[in-house]
């Protein structure tokens, strides 16, 4: 609890959002990482619920990219492959590929992002979700990082630069 309060007050001082929910893992990099999700090294997250997996980019990614002004998404009915690009986000001057952490069939695409691409910045894990997929391999999900591992990954990545 003390660590959470310290991080929260520091985040406030730095004007960085830091939601105080009990299931958050708070990292020294002050990006939000949610428990219960799985993460790829290319900074996408997966939320597996029943037969559907929801995919988006992490708070760490959106923070480093800057204001998202355009999102390129595939059509439902297509397929994604683990580690391959399925879309892109444009942030002012840059397009950045978004890669799928898992393979499967795209069953839904977040159409809100065409009119409100900034949802990826303001709500990367909820309203800013990008695609929903029917996974073709459960082992791919298991090979992804958990919240603690991803938090450490972000810290090490930021520290090495």
């Amino acid at each position: 609890m003390a660590l959470r309060m310290w991080a929260s007050s520091t985040a406030n001082a730095l004007k960085i959002s830091c939601a105080s929910k009990p299931y958050l893992s708070l990292s020294r990099c002050f990006s939000t990482v949610l428990d219960g999700l799985k993460y790829a090294e290319s900074h996408e997250w997966v939320k597996h619920e029943g037969s559907v997996a929801t995919i988006g980019i992490t708070d760490h990614a959106q923070d480093h990219l800057g204001e998202v002004v355009f999102v390129e998404l595939p059509e439902p009915g297509g397929s994604v492959s683990k580690g391959k690009g399925f879309g892109a986000v444009e942030s002012v001057k840059a397009t950045s590929d978004v890669n799928s952490p898992i393979s499967g069939e795209i069953v839904e695409v977040n159409s809100k992002l065409s009119e409100a691409p900034g949802l990826i910045n303001s709500s990367p894990y909820e309203e800013g979700w990008m695609i929903k997929v029917k996974p073709s391999s459960s082992s791919e999900l298991e090979s992804l990082m958990g919240s603690k591992e991803y938090t450490k990954f972000c810290e090490e990545e930021d520290a090495s630069h």
Binding site: G85, V92, K93, A94, T95, H161
Partner: protein, 286 residues
Amino acid sequence: MGILCCVCFLQEEEKETRTWNSSSGSKMLIPQTRNIGLPIMNLMRFKGLPILQQLHIEEQLLRTSSENWCIINDGTNDPTIVMGVSGKPAELLEIESVLRDQVPVIRRFTGGGTVIVDPGTIFVTYICNKEAIPDLQPYPRPIMSWSSSLYSKVFQGIGDFHLRENDYVFGNHKFGGNAQSITKTKWIHHTSFLWDFDVRNMAYLKLPKRAPAYRSARGHLDFICRLKDYMSRSTFIDKTVEAAGTQFLLRSFELETIENCSETEFRPSTRFLTNEELEAAAVAGQ
């Protein structure tokens, strides 16, 4: 036959030019004073290459090559409008004038804004592996910052050069626009420099809705300036090559080598917009 795919570190202590022939064509090391342990970067130089062809080369190298590249195109042939990947013609262009005067319009694969390029534009592009530059995070702002540090060397003591938001400026006048694309393993940062421009061409571009704060709603001619007022073309290009040589071991590369060596059937997304598309955009207001 194929493009040399391995990134190798060479150690040289003397100014030296060597040539060798391989199955993929001929390459030439560029004389440099200090290049110990630097990553190799292939340097391609063009003069007047059509901008669509330049962008196709860049997009192919970004997507299919594992090497580092610097491309310099000293002017393009015909005046051409180049929009970013998400650009909306009706918002950015005076479509009626563009169609009337048959000005070509390209949608490129990188982000960023709209430019009209011509023989007075000098293009400099860096395509790098994510590990090529130590301590550089492969995100837009660090890459932008790194590029401005290179150009700070080029413009040292000349004008009041700096990176202002995402533009290269002298004072508060823009002379260089930037755009990027970042993939899983590589990134590209390309810049169009206004060495000179035709005032009449600016009339094809609307004032963009999304503009940097420092623009302060200035019209095109009050916002931009000409690099020719500060530096000759050859000096700028020579100094840019010299600056790149402080971080990379530059190796001159010929275009025909790329054309002969591509082993993938790559289809670039960069393309001309058709008259029909522009007309439809004008009608739909997009």
